[in-house]
């Protein structure tokens, strides 16, 4: 069954953080729309970012993946040399302020990817029509909308204001917005910000140059922060909306397991395959039903999630301590079964998002030796654990887990090789404290959900380490008006597999090597190689030599290396 590990996708965001933090020439534009208003109390601005990406597959298809009916759709769509993305993105943002205290913001994104002009789902012909996950071998309308378009979505839509409650200034926001607490830079799983909002991993992985503003998706909520003292503030949020984090869809280039799509409407076992199984077993036709994948089912209710935090900056510490408590519905899924047919096959497979996970955390932010250091420790109670293949809905394993991370941001001075360079490193750790329910379904080494007891089959270990590194040298004015950067990025599971879904697997990750030109602070051109790391086992599946086991299924397979060219401007 599909175990998903999303941490492989965070590379793109990181590069933005770096360039932002070192403040050396992000893609910018000279002529944003500063709206001129008659009344000086009002200010407004409207900005648009236009981005074009073209990507070409650089690696050849892995026959072992094509030979596994579970993975062949995603791998078959494009072969080496094919254009895997040919996409235009636009992001529009409008802000207004009144007397610098009140205001609002609306933003929206739109896209079209011509590489998916053809919505046919490809499969390994050896499987005939038994392998295609999508009915009629065509993308579902969901997959089509989010991968091809043309389509769009509303992002931010909120009002804000600053009020004095007595002598305490309180800043409040109401509407669709995103908050991201804590200090984590790369990891969206191990920090206090886990599931604080949906993260668009689909866009992050497939659209180089995407803005953090597009990736950390907003939700309807009310939030506020009160400055109780000069060095002490408290904040809170209450949600009126719940959306899941977005994952790549099966059958698309970066999809892994063919049926996995938040939109469902796919098959784990399609009708042709079900008929073939029946006839192979000598059973009458129709005695075995197909196994549909339903995607998000029993959608959690929109309201009810909340969180509080306090930030204290004691003078002796010369840094900030954050304290957090949240109760929330998970935004990352477990893959569970709806029930069983008489034949023993499942009735369906679906995504389950657990309610009422509790999280307590502390964070530290401090300068140490000229470096910006951030750290977090998080304790999650009744959080969803990595589940075994036979988990029925309602029987998801839950438990308490401990997470920690530390990160460092720094800048290297110029030398003979480059003019300056920025770097970011983040180390993450997660550990299972105890299983609180359905231990039999926990897919951990030594538990029922892991029949092989082998971590290389994707089973969780007691604890796990992960790392992410980014290094970006910069050269200024290489040509008149042009700065060059060479962003390098690597993210991987170091040791062990995390007990929580998407927490990272040993040897699974991604990397990229790029060259970026900032042209007159207005246009940004990036050429980049995007590669993936994933440990797999070879075996015989349905009589064919194939990839039989994966440590971190849902990560992009390591045959999907591609080259991307990104053009971007904001105006």
């Amino acid at each position: 069954m599909a175990r998903k590990t999303g941490s492989a996708y965070c590379g793109r965001y990181v590069k933005q953080t770096i360039s932002v933090l070192t403040c050396c020439g992000l893609p910018f534009a000279a002529s944003a729309f500063q709206l001129k208003l008659e009344d000086p109390d009002w200010t407004a601005r409207w900005d648009n970012t236009l981005r074009y990406n073209v990507g070409v597959r650089a690696q050849k298809q892995d026959q072992g993946l094509l030979n596994n009916a579970r993975y062949d759709d995603s791998d078959s769509k494009f072969d080496r040399g094919d254009v895997v993305t040919n996409r235009i993105d636009v992001m529009s943002e409008f802000d207004f302020k009144y007397k610098k205290r009140y205001g609002g913001r609306v933003s929206a994104a739109g896209w079209y990817d011509d590489a998916y002009r053809d919505t046919d789902v490809k499969s390994n012909p050896a499987f005939g029509n038994t392998s295609t996950a999508y009915p009629g071998a065509r993308y579902s309308s969901y997959t089509e909308r989010w991968n091809r378009g043309p389509s769009g979505e509303l992002l931010d839509a909120f009002v804000f204001g600053r009020f004095d409650v007595g002598s305490v200034p309180v800043d409040g926001r109401l509407g669709r917005h995103n908050l991201y607490w804590g200090e984590s830079i790369f990891s969206f799983v191990h920090g206090v910000s886990y599931s604080q909002g949906p993260v668009d991993l689909r866009k992050l992985g497939s659209t180089p140059g995407a803005e953090a503003k597009e990736l950390y998706l907003p939700q309807n909520q009310i939030s506020g922060e009160a400055q109780l003292a000069d060095n002490f503030s408290v904040g809170a949020q209450y949600f009126f909306e719940w959306d899941p984090s977005r994952l790549p869809d099966g059958g698309t280039y970066l999809g892994a397991v063919d049926f996995s799509s938040l939109g469902g409407n796919t098959y784990v076992v399609n009708p042709a395959a079900a008929a073939a199984i029946a006839s192979g077993a000598g059973l009458p036709p129709g005695s075995i039903g197909p196994v549909p994948f339903l995607g998000v089912q029993d959608r959690p209710k929109n309201s009810g999630d909340w969180g509080v935090k306090a930030t204290w900056r004691p003078e002796v510490l010369d840094g900030a301590l954050g304290f957090y408590y949240r109760e929330f519905t998970d935004r990352f899924p477990q893959y569970v079964l709806g029930g069983f047919q008489e034949s023993g096959l499942p009735t369906d497979l679906r995504l389950s998002y657990l309610r009422k996970t509790k999280l307590a955390g502390i964070s530290l932010s401090k300068e140490v030796g000229g470096l910006s250091v951030g750290a977090e420790m998080v304790y999650r109670m009744d959080t969803g654990l990595l589940n075994g293949d036979a988990t029925l809905v309602g029987d998801e394993p839950r438990g308490d887990t401990f997470h920690a991370l530390v990160n460092v941001l720094g800048l290297m001075p110029g030398n003979a090789v480059f003019d300056s360079a920025s770097y970011v490193a983040e180390l993450t750790y997660s550990r299972l404290q105890k299983v609180t329910s359905h231990a039999e379904n926990f897919s951990g080494v030594g538990y029922g959900g892991c029949p092989t007891n082998d971590k290389w089959d994707g089973c969780a270990t007691r604890d796990a380490w992960g790392v992410a590194l980014a290094f970006t040298p910069v050269w200024y004015q290489v040509f008149p008006g042009i700065d060059l950067k060479a962003p390098l990025f690597l993210q991987t599971g170091l040791k062990g597999n995390s007990p929580v879904p998407f927490g990272g697997n040993q040897g699974a990750g991604s990397y990229s090597i790029g060259l970026t030109a900032d042209v007159r602070s207005k246009y940004n051109v990036s050429l980049q190689y995007n590669g993936y790391l994933l440990k797999t086992k070879e075996g015989v599946v349905n009589g064919l030599p194939a990839v039989s086991s994966v440590n971190g299924v849902g990560n992009t397979f390591d045959d999907r290396g591609w080259v991307s060219l990104t053009l971007k401007t904001t105006f």
Partner: protein, 462 residues
């Protein structure tokens, strides 16, 4: 009894090794007579090319609109006395900085129009009074890296060391607050102009706010809210600089849009590239010099008469009144700033030579500073790379805010000689300079809590 006192006295002497003594009261008596209260020579020079100080410019020209925050040129009828070019530079060599000589030599069409010297600087009485008192009470700490004892005026009106002159620069009076829309642009070697950003700037000087409880803690608080380029709009920086760098370092934070949170940003110091500087400006080039002085030995060379940019009302007018785009078009000539918008005057400057300390690292191995005797906030510098070659030539662009009795020297200009690029930074544009907390066109009041990183995050829109 004596036995008890002696060791105690010895301790005092030991600690004085760290804290440098102020000038004797006798010497301080010159302030207000031969010297102005802040220590400039009140008299003119021998040939009269520098006039005596007569109270500065406190009268607004007729064209000035009260409360407009835009400053018409009170000296618009002045004619250049002469022009210095590569052809006649030898004649003026003793009054030119190495940087100016290099620019004159490099560009045959570069010229410096020299105008009559106008000692326009004026400061409020309270600042003058505090300056006189500071002469006998301010001390440096940590070999000049910090100071104690100073209040609300020039800290060292009679400076004896390079560090003391540099502190006069860092603490130069520029009002208690200044707010403006800052523009930055550069002109590359092909002559093309590129805007590198507009920001809403707030400079706050707690040191000059007698009622601020932090007046003895921080001398400067800066808030930058990026507006342009659009891709950076919403980004914010907060930088706090302490008076005593021996007990506390610069504090810096950055607000990251998209996540709406604030990160510690200690890298915003020393030779980290300045955001809007096209890679040609370091963070400590801001205002020609800013930040902690622990990487150099600052040696006081003495005083000298030098041509420096002064009373640049025409330049301000081009960018403030006509809008940034038009202004940039007018002043941003290829290779160097359109000489018609530059005004050079002869002034006495304090010369300080900074040499990189052994074991310390910086893009610049040597820097020579020239600070105006009337406004230590204004001046020039020559910056040498690690091969000892002149790399960059920096200068402030100053005016006197005549309606507010505030010398204003925030913007600066950097010529990079290795890339043939120049960068204009921190120039007020598209609107008024709001200076001071009182009076017309006053800046907003911020509480201490408003400067907290959490407050910055809470205010973030993007």
């Amino acid at each position: 009894m004596k036995k008890l006192i002696l060791p105690f006295a010895w301790l005092l002497i030991a600690s004085a090794g760290v804290a440098q003594a102020a000038v004797p009261a006798d010497e301080a008596k010159q302030l207000g007579s031969a010297l102005t209260p802040w220590g400039a020579e009140a008299a003119g020079n021998k040939d009269g090319s520098i006039p005596p100080y007569t109270g500065g410019l406190q009268k607004s020209p007729a064209e000035f609109k009260e409360g407009s925050g835009i400053y018409p040129d009170p000296y618009k009828d002045d004619k250049p006395l002469f022009s210095i070019t590569s052809k006649n530079m030898a004649q003026y060599a003793d009054k030119l900085t190495e940087g100016q000589k290099a620019l004159l030599t490099r560009y045959p069409d570069y010229k410096m129009d020299v105008y009559p010297t106008r000692r326009s600087v004026a400061m409020p009485q309270a600042v003058l009074d505090a300056s006189v008192k500071n002469a006998t009470r301010t001390q440096t700490t940590g070999n000049g890296v910090g100071i104690t004892g100073a209040e609300g005026g020039t800290p060292f009106p009679i400076p004896k060391t390079g560090h003391e002159v540099m502190w006069n620069h860092l603490l130069a009076y520029g009002g208690d607050v200044a707010e403006f829309t800052s523009s930055n642009f550069y002109v590359d070697q092909s002559g093309r102009k590129t805007s590198t950003g507009n920001s809403q700037m707030r400079y706050e000087y707690p040191y000059y706010q007698p009622e601020n409880p932090e007046r003895n803690t921080y001398y400067l608080k800066q808030n930058t809210s990026a507006m342009e380029p659009a891709a950076l709009a919403g980004q914010q920086f907060v930088i706090l600089d302490p008076l005593d760098f021996t007990t506390g370092d610069r504090r810096a934070w950055q607000y990251v849009p998209g996540q709406r949170r604030v990160k510690v940003a200690p890298e915003l110091a020393y030779d980290t590239p300045f955001q809007a500087g096209a890679g040609m400006v370091t963070l400590d080039d801001v205002g020609v010099f800013s930040g902690r002085m622990d990487r150099y030995d600052f040696k006081l060379i003495g005083k000298k008469e030098v041509y420096i940019p002064y009373n640049l009302y025409k330049l301000y007018g081009a960018l403030q009144s006509n809008g940034f785009e038009k202004g940039m078009e007018a002043v941003g000539s290829p290779k160097f700033v359109n000489p018609d918008y530059m005004r050079w005057e002869l002034h006495r400057v304090w010369v300080v030579e900074a040499t990189l300390l052994p074991g310390k690292r910086h893009l610049y191995s040597k820097r020579v500073f020239y600070w105006d005797e009337d406004n230590a906030g204004a001046g020039m510098s020559d910056q040498y790379d690690n091969a000892g070659k002149l790399l960059r030539v920096n200068m402030t662009m100053s005016i006197q805010l005549y309606d507010k009795v505030i010398p204003y020297a925030i913007p600066w200009l950097v010529y990079d000689l290795s890339n043939n690029v120049y960068v204009m930074c921190g120039m007020p544009s598209n609107g008024p300079i709001k200076a001071g907390l009182k009076g017309p066109m006053a800046a907003d009041t911020w509480s201490k809590g408003d400067w907290s990183p959490d407050a910055i995050a809470a205010r973030g829109v993007r």
